[in-house]
């Protein structure tokens, strides 16, 4: 009995729009005919804490959280949070990360420094690593606020969900007036 499941972890900082991205991803997977489950912790994390959202899709999904060490794709919205979640990813897994640093309180107050070698650390362990300057690509493509959609596009190319389902999911989940720009930016990301 083989259950083909794709395990994706979306990680970052509360307030970065991670939940919306994981919702679009889940919707696209359902439209493509897969069973889908997703899980994350709300609550305290909204006050600027770490956020981890789990999305799993395939023929039949049981656990709503990705089993430890079985993540196929790590989708990081912030560098330190991306590194924090590397242990959840399987060896040889894929990392798509936003090139963005958000300082936690101890760094803001000058008690600790933001780790310097994060990109190398990811590269050393995960050869399949794409680092995207989401803000820059989004700005160049027309809307700096659509950085998450750029990254989602980049992740989408690594998943077996056809483009039409992504477009439908965007139409459903993104506010009407932002749909066009998000579709455009998504396609740019999908080309990365």
């Amino acid at each position: 009995m083989s259950r083909q499941i794709t395990n994706i972890l979306l990680v970052g900082v509360g307030g970065q729009g991670i939940l919306l991205a994981s919702e679009i991803l889940s919707e696209a997977a359902m439209l493509a005919g897969f069973d889908v489950k997703k899980s994350e912790i709300h609550g305290m994390s909204q006050r600027g804490g770490s956020v981890v959202s789990h999305v799993r899709y395939g023929t039949e999904v049981f656990s709503p959280i990705v089993p430890e060490g079985e993540g196929d794709i790590l989708f990081g919205f912030e560098l330190m949070e991306t590194c924090r979640s590397l242990p959840l990813i399987k060896p040889g897994g894929t990392v798509v990360a936003n090139d963005l640093q958000i300082s936690p309180p101890s760094v803001l107050m000058g008690q600790e420094t933001y780790p310097a070698d994060l990109v190398f650390r990811i590269q050393d362990h995960f050869p399949d690593f794409l680092l995207v300057d989401g803000q820059k690509v989004a700005r160049d493509a027309g809307n700096v606020r659509a950085a998450n959609t750029v990254l989602l596009g980049a992740v989408s190319r690594r998943l077996d969900i056809a483009e039409e389902f992504w477009m439908k999911a965007l139409e459903k989940m993104v506010p009407a007036k932002a749909v066009d720009v998000n579709k455009k930016v998504f396609k740019v990301g999908r080309g990365l």
Partner: protein, 586 residues
Amino acid sequence: MREILSGNEAIARGAFEAGCRVACAYPGTPSTEILENITRYPEIDASWAPNEKVALEVSIGASFGGGRALCTMKHVGVNVAADPLFTLSYTGVNGGLVLVVADDPEMHSSQNEQDSRNYARFAKVPLLEPSDSQECKEFTRLAFEISEQYDTPVMLRSCTRVSHGKSIVELGERVTNLPQPMLTKNPAKLVMLPGNARVRHPLVEERMVRLAENGSTMAINRAELRDTSIGIITSGVSYQYVREVMPEASTLKLGMVHPLPHAMIREFAARVDRLYVVEELDPFIEDQVRAMGIAVTGKEIISLCGELTPGRLRTAFGLPQPIGLAPVKMPGRPPNMCPGCPHRGVFFALNQLKAYVTGDIGCYTLGFMPPLSAMDTCVCMGASIGMATGVTKVVSAEEKKKVVAVIGDSTFLHTGINGLMDMVYNNSPATVIILDNRITAMTGRQDNPASGFTLMNNSSHTIDFPMLCTALGVKHIRVINPLDLEETKRVIAEEMQRPETSVIITDKPCVLIKREDIFQKGPLYAVDVDICTGCRACLKIGCPAIEWRPAGDGSRKGRAFIDPQLCTGCDVCRQLCTFDAIGSTP
């Protein structure tokens, strides 16, 4: 139609489809979104109550009036609502009544991880436990039916992973053939005086026996026989982890966890070589199975603490674990009060005044964290006030002056009023600070009786805190602007000295309130780098908008910087700068 719904959305949908008429709750993670989603269905009268006890009592009234009623809360909410619950078990219902309880194993956002299943047993009410969103919807509908069929309230127990997890749900229609609610008198059943209650109690016991018997044929309890060398009794989200990690094992999946279907358990146990129970928290099922004389393994291998995960289950059963990268140490990222939060200045002042702060639950509990570090206790909602009274009863006259209770507006209205009544009645010298930010912020900005709006966003009476405190007999009431540090510190210091009960009320709204005219951003502030001496005074309030930028020459020198994206213009940091290096920008 199929939709991806969270467990909470699915429970709301289930209540709608079941023809539910009234839904009432007090917010609490992870249950809050059930009522927020019920507002989509105009057929249901939905409201926030000031606390869980009132929420359940409103629901009981609706049920006695003949309508189906839903009441939702987090696990600790049942402690507050336990009084009506235990006697509701005796009266039974008229319209179906479902009490949804969302547990929080692992304490993602809670002060304890009590296991609500024990309440079902204690109060003698049936409890259903869904394991995904589809079941959340179906079990909610079924719970209403069981409630009416067996004349009992029914508990539906969720947990963080089920309530906040999302999965695909097939939607259905709302039932329409329910009887029209109307007043019917039945005092022998509904007036629980000893004479009547003595008649009701045996009926409760009979009902539980009948439910246990019938449980063996209920479709939501099902034996799935696969490899019979291992048999696992499980329920809720634990079932999903078992299927994930041990897909070949036989399972007895229980949808109704209380009362247990004894015959079915015996039969399943007889068919498997080795019997296990996989459940989070307490050995609720396990102890009862063992009491039936059946050999079973459970808490010997699975922790009493925290939630299960696929990895933890693998460890419990000695299964191979995929090896991920070892974690490396990095700066943590704890939650923090928002930039401009009106709570910050109060804790800064309390820290400077070296107060002993009996704290309470809400965003302001973060005042415990450095650098504010100004909270000394936090037990449960409303506890701050009674505890302040208690502390002053035992410490020296000098130390009494240090004792300050800090409580949010929603928490004060939840269970703080009685504590204040007691303070005045018994002449406590402690000081109470009510942090009135006009919203229940911690759980995601729900309205409350002091916010001026209802759950349905209709405007409503706004509680006047000074008037309420006056009515309770408080003689010394001060209203302050918590963004004015000098005023805040001075007034708190004065009231701490006073040997009588006093109340200080802060008067600035939460920065996250979206409603117009309540919170307004001020001008942006910036640091003049030519004047900044790098003294770090402004860092003492722990505002996420202020960043320390090292000089980069290896020394401890540096400058402060204010992130214009995050600054709300609250002005507090400017008041801390003795060099006038911080100012508003045009």
